[in-house]
């Protein structure tokens, strides 16, 4: 059998390393020009922007990266292991390590400027007065709405519970198709695996908050839209957790059950299920716990429950009522967190 060897991988890595260096230097020049020069040194009030600036910085970065590429001062080369590290040499003498620190420091400075951190605002007289007002109100909660808050909280907990329990069967089935060890047998099954993984990753990377906005337009504002958002996100994340559990099971019991002459369904029930059932339960309870927290946040965009109530009172600036709601939310979250931790500790 002959193996065809392609061009050495090293060339690709050198190219990638140079591209990383180009980005790092381009970013450095952009931050130096826009933040350090224009914002801090010239102290311009209004900084205008044109696309030629980042492009020019990138071009300059590419040239500098090329020039520095033949020295040890290259983050890209360090990342791809193209620099021979010498044992016992202090990192202070490694120019790429120093460069990394400089870039991080620049990022920190830029971050402070961009987030408009201002001690003057924080300790201003009107600011402190506002803080005092809101804290006084929050610490004097209005318990007249306690019953309403409790009912809303119950709605939230049930919303999370239904979302979790509807997600279980969906995730249970999908997990088998998302488990690499079961699906790497044929090109077709591997294609199904890859497509499913892709969709799950996309679904998971969109926050439930965004899904809640989508569904509140779809089915209208209320607990149903919140439940749908949590359901979708739970399916995606439970499928991932379940399938990782399937990937980690041992083949031994499966082989043993096959050897007894058991039917494939019996092999799964006796050889696979006992290995995954407790981790599954544990993940699911944890998910419910997470869903209760998320349900509160989702309520803020119209997902129903105590979050919606919080949004309404906050909009009216009725801070005494908001204080009550905050207490109820904190109590629920703490209770769920405690109960789920206790139950999961028992499931070992």
């Amino acid at each position: 059998m002959t193996t065809i060897s392609f061009a050495p991988k090293r060339h690709v890595e050198v190219l990638k390393a140079w591209m990383i260096d180009t980005l790092v230097w381009g970013y450095t020049f952009l931050v130096l020009f826009k933040i350090v020069w224009q914002r801090i040194i010239l102290d311009l009030r209004f900084i205008d922007f044109s696309w030629s600036e980042p492009l020019a910085c990138l071009a300059l970065g590419a040239v500098v990266a090329l020039a520095m590429f033949f020295t040890r001062c290259s983050i890209g080369k360090a990342l791809y292991g193209l620099i021979d590290f010498q044992d016992g040499r202090s990192w202070v003498r490694e120019s790429h390590a120093v460069l990394t620190l400089v870039v991080l420091a620049l990022t920190f400075v830029a971050g402070i400027m961009v987030t408009q951190v201002s001690m003057r605002e924080f300790f201003s007289e009107s600011g402190l007065a506002g803080a005092q007002r809101i804290f006084t109100a929050l610490l004097n909660p209005n318990f007249a709405i306690f019953e309403d808050a409790l009912f809303a909280a119950i709605e939230t907990v049930f919303m999370a519970f239904i979302a979790t329990s509807l997600a279980i069967p969906a995730a249970f089935v999908l997990a088998f198709f998302a488990a690499r060890n079961l699906m790497s047998g044929s090109p077709l099954s591997f294609a199904i695996y890859s497509v499913l993984r892709f969709f799950l990753n996309v679904t998971r990377s969109i926050e439930p908050l965004v899904w809640a906005i989508v569904f509140s337009v779809w089915v209208g504002i209320g607990p149903f839209s919140g439940m749908l958002a949590l359901f979708l996100h739970s399916v995606a994340s439970l499928t991932k957790l379940y399938s990782e559990q399937i990937e980690s099971i041992s083949d031994g019991p499966i082989e043993a059950m096959k050897a007894t002459g058991a039917h494939p369904i019996q092999v799964i029930w006796y050889g696979v299920v006992p290995q995954i059932i407790l981790p599954y339960l544990s993940y699911t309870i944890y998910r419910w716990d997470i869903n209760v927290r998320m349900a509160t946040v989702i309520g803020l965009v119209g997902g129903g429950g105590i979050g919606t109530m919080l949004m309404q009172y906050q909009g009216l600036a009725r801070w005494n009522e908001v204080g009550t709601l905050v207490i109820v939310i904190a109590a629920i979250v703490w209770l769920m967190d405690y109960a789920s931790a206790k139950i999961r500790a028992r499931l070992k």
Binding site: A256, A259, T260, Q266, Q275, L278
Partner: protein, 254 residues
């Protein structure tokens, strides 16, 4: 007539590895046949071809005068149910009781729905207790299998295999993960099953001292080929070198 006949059995794995090359073996009812050879010589493959956990690539296999080389579905499960197997890593069901593990040996004759609900007849339960008695673990029936010691787990695995009421018991390096004292105890139970219940045993072993004590016949594999067949007493220094190579040193277990 021999109970199990392998004729020119060959096994090629999907990645192209030839694990077995034209192996001919006849196994008689009631034998204690031991298979020796280096790791990778094809011992495990041979056992897994007998109960077709691996399908047979070439040759013909006859079990009790019936051609069973290429069985599928129900008839394959029926063949497997008559051949018990125990493993180096015991392969018990984790987090389940010893009793459930033993009962799982009866899956082939239990309806799917009943087995999903875990409903076994009184007769099956009593059978399970009887086999637990035989391996001396009756009082552990309700203990979780993964809380037992290695030797005890292997004895549960023997009881599970007995639950199948097998004609042949395959043992794939049954004592390789056990300490010397426990090894002998497990081997003695296999011997008891062989001598008192008349179950044919085909066993992969590493230690020649165990081979000499328990085997009634020995075969040796090297590179997937049968290189020796005979009585355990006839394995001398020369044979040992031929099977295991120049650099090997015999290690004894007592």
């Amino acid at each position: 007539m021999s109970q199990l006949v392998l004729e020119h059995i060959g096994k090629v794995y999907p990645n192209g590895t030839r694990a077995l090359k034209a192996v001919n073996i006849s196994v008689e009812q009631g034998e204690f046949l031991v298979v020796i050879g280096l790791s990778g010589s094809g011992k495990s493959t041979l056992l897994r071809c007998v109960n077709q956990l691996h399908d047979i690539s070439e040759g013909k296999m006859t079990f009790e005068q019936a051609d069973v080389t290429h069985l599928k579905g129900r008839s394959l499960r029926q063949l497997r149910s008559r051949i018990g197997m125990i493993f180096q890593q015991f392969n018990l069901i984790p987090r389940k009781t010893v009793l459930t593990n033993v009962l799982s040996g009866a899956l082939a004759r239990t309806g799917i729905f009943k087995s999903l609900l875990g409903i076994y007849s009184k007769a099956e339960r009593e059978l399970a207790y009887r086999y637990l008695d035989i391996v001396g673990l009756r009082e552990k029936a309700y203990v979780r299998a993964d809380n037992l010691s290695g030797g005890q787990q292997q004895r549960v695995a023997i009881a599970r295999a007995l639950m199948q009421n097998p004609k042949i018991l395959l043992a794939d390096e049954p004592v390789a993960s056990l300490d010397p004292a426990t090894s002998h105890s497990v081997m003695k139970y296999l011997q008891k099953v062989n001598q008192e219940m008349g179950v044919t045993v085909i066993c992969n072993l590493h230690f020649l001292s165990l081979v000499r004590t328990y085997a009634t016949r020995v075969i040796a594999l090297k590179g997937g080929e049968l290189v020796y067949e005979g009585s355990p007493q006839d394995i001398d220094e020369n044979w040992f070198t031929a099977i295991y190579g120049e650099d090997a040193v015999e290690v004894t277990i007592d």
